[in-house]
Symmetry: none
Subunit: 211 residues, 4 copies
């Protein structure tokens, strides 16, 4: 009799986890609140004890995940021993592993928020821009140190880099790319190689002078 069967926090999490599966499967606009409740095994009225609205469920899911990602980017940036390319590789790895670990959640984050210019994307524009900004800072430092070319703006480079990752995730979401551990690792390499190395053939860049 010591522990309650289900704590409030657990119930809330139970609903959020169900919502991820339902949003990923049916899409935010197409699913019903009762679909989420069914998936969670609770009455649909209960959802309104934990969230103000259906929108708030998606907002919560997005921000939970996005904040982790932004924090990771900032932590990576703080590791001064890494080159810019290594930092970008770390970020790529983290995001792709996030998808590998919970594809439903990442699908929801991207499809329902990040790319929804008329609805949630607009709402969370600040959060999205924060991520771009953090990446841009990494690139800016790489440019300053001479590691990266400064022929484009760091902001645009950040957008392209993040866009390449998102495009890869989209490939998985649309079943255009193969899944499987090797595939995930291969694509990680592709992303960094393409963005940093470019498509053009040419001799490998000179190793940094004094190293």
């Amino acid at each position: 009799m010591a522990t309650a069967r289900t704590t409030a926090a657990e119930r809330r999490r139970q609903i959020l986890d169900a919502a991820v599966r339902v949003f990923a499967r049916q899409g935010f606009h197409t699913c019903r609140v009762s679909d989420i409740a069914d998936e969670a095994g609770v009455a649909y009225g209960l959802l309104y004890h934990y969230f103000r609205s259906k929108d708030e469920v998606l907002d919560t899911l997005f921000l939970e995940r996005w904040d982790v990602m932004v924090e990771l980017i900032e932590q990576v940036d703080a590791r001064t021993e890494l080159t810019a390319r290594e930092k970008l590789a770390a970020i790529t790895s983290f995001i792709i592993d996030s998808y590998r670990h919970d594809p439903d959640l990442m699908k929801v984050v991207i499809v329902e928020v990040t790319r929804a210019a008329n609805t949630f994307g607009r709402t969370h524009l600040d959060a999205i821009n924060r991520a771009y900004g953090s990446i841009a800072k990494i690139i800016e430092k790489g440019m300053a140190s001479g590691e990266l070319r400064d022929t484009i703006t760091p902001q645009f480079a950040a957008m392209t880099f993040y866009g390449a990752i998102e495009q890869a995730l989209t490939g998985w979401i649309f079943d255009m790319l193969p899944t499987g551990d090797e595939s995930f690792e291969q694509i990680k390499g592709f992303v960094v190689d393409t963005i940093c190395g470019g498509l053009d053939a040419r001799p490998a860049p000179d190793p940094p002078a004094g190293v």
Copy 2:
């Protein structure tokens, strides 16, 4: 001898043009059929003389535009005097000019179809893949001729290239990039430079042998 006031084809176009504006402004899911009709200045019943449903209006808009783009890509590919990089530059230029010329239409194509994994994106997956495939062919030839590195698959390279363009368009759609003629031209260069040249600093590639 006066011309007929409005032909059937003109009315149809009138409705499609109105739909573009309304979809861009409010989003497909958020707007009402009557909003389109109001914007077009016709009774909403008339929409059903020209289209089977609201969905069909969006499908029509998307395919009209997408087919033009796929055709352009194939035409570019056929110009054997161009290098792969020049072909990619031509495609980039065309798509960005498309946005510059009719931002509402491109916004609808991207936001409501291309990136809508749970609804129209899934429907038009074949059309979308046809575009990727055509770009991949260009890249494949570039790899075969030695112009491009073949360390990644042409398919992935195509996705990343197209993703970079779409990300730029998204930047304009979200008001994250400045508009204006110079900006458009600058971004064109950024896209090709980033994708082909990469972010890494290094000596310019050796000039082709016999030139």
Copy 3:
């Protein structure tokens, strides 16, 4: 160049005939005005040159047919050489032959008008009652002459008689009775035999005294 290709009366008839087929196939409420026009091979706007409304088409079809039937009943009644049973047999034969000759029309008359208590049946109640009344008169005379029993009212007898015929037609309409010439003739006999002779087993009635 002497005759117009199609006279107004012919066009009108063409539309009415098409309407019969469409009403029979789809039902009055379920079919569209354009279905009738398509079946007739004319533009749907033309229907409104010949009829005030969709309702009027059905009204016209019903009254055309019903008036013929009422007139037939009255003509039969006038033939004083016939017994009541012979008169009823003649009416039965006429109605069943009407169905045999044009099942669609009779289906429409019965299903869409005669039995539609909430719509057209109420509208044409007078016409319907005129038929009952004429049949009742035949029965009344049969009762007066001693040919028929007068234990029930002529009005009720007329309803039951007509109801038996309509029930037979309904059997054909619902595919519950076999079609084919013999079947039609057999049912004619059944109707008169059942209504006049009853279901009870017993000796044939005595022949009329002085005959």
Copy 4:
């Protein structure tokens, strides 16, 4: 200790009862779902908690009533002490009393289903035929025992019998027959007398041999 204000079953019944009144008054096709809800004193959305569609409301009403009738017919048939005529009289009495007790419901059953050859009649053809079949069995036994003439098929006799009853109900529905207890009882007798005794005048059938 107060009882719950309204149970789910009661609400459902409340809606069904309201639907009967509305269907009888306005007809199924002519009434709106909100008319039913208004009559029941509930929000129209609630109707969709208890029924999948407007159609299902009518289906439910019909089957509820029709199943009771078929069961009654079978129970009557099982009473071996009754003659066929007595069985038919019992069925007639039951159906006419059903109308007397709830004319709206019987009107809906007949007008909107039983006689609606293009819509619900077709849907419920099996149920309708089950009733005919049970009546035909009664008649068949009567023929086998020599009580009834076997000059027509039991199936046709059943149709005519049921048709006579339905015609009587139609007479009330169309206000062509007087209402009032005596009238109901009189018509009961008329139906059985007409169907069993026939219209022809003749001596009463011989009493069964050994009685």
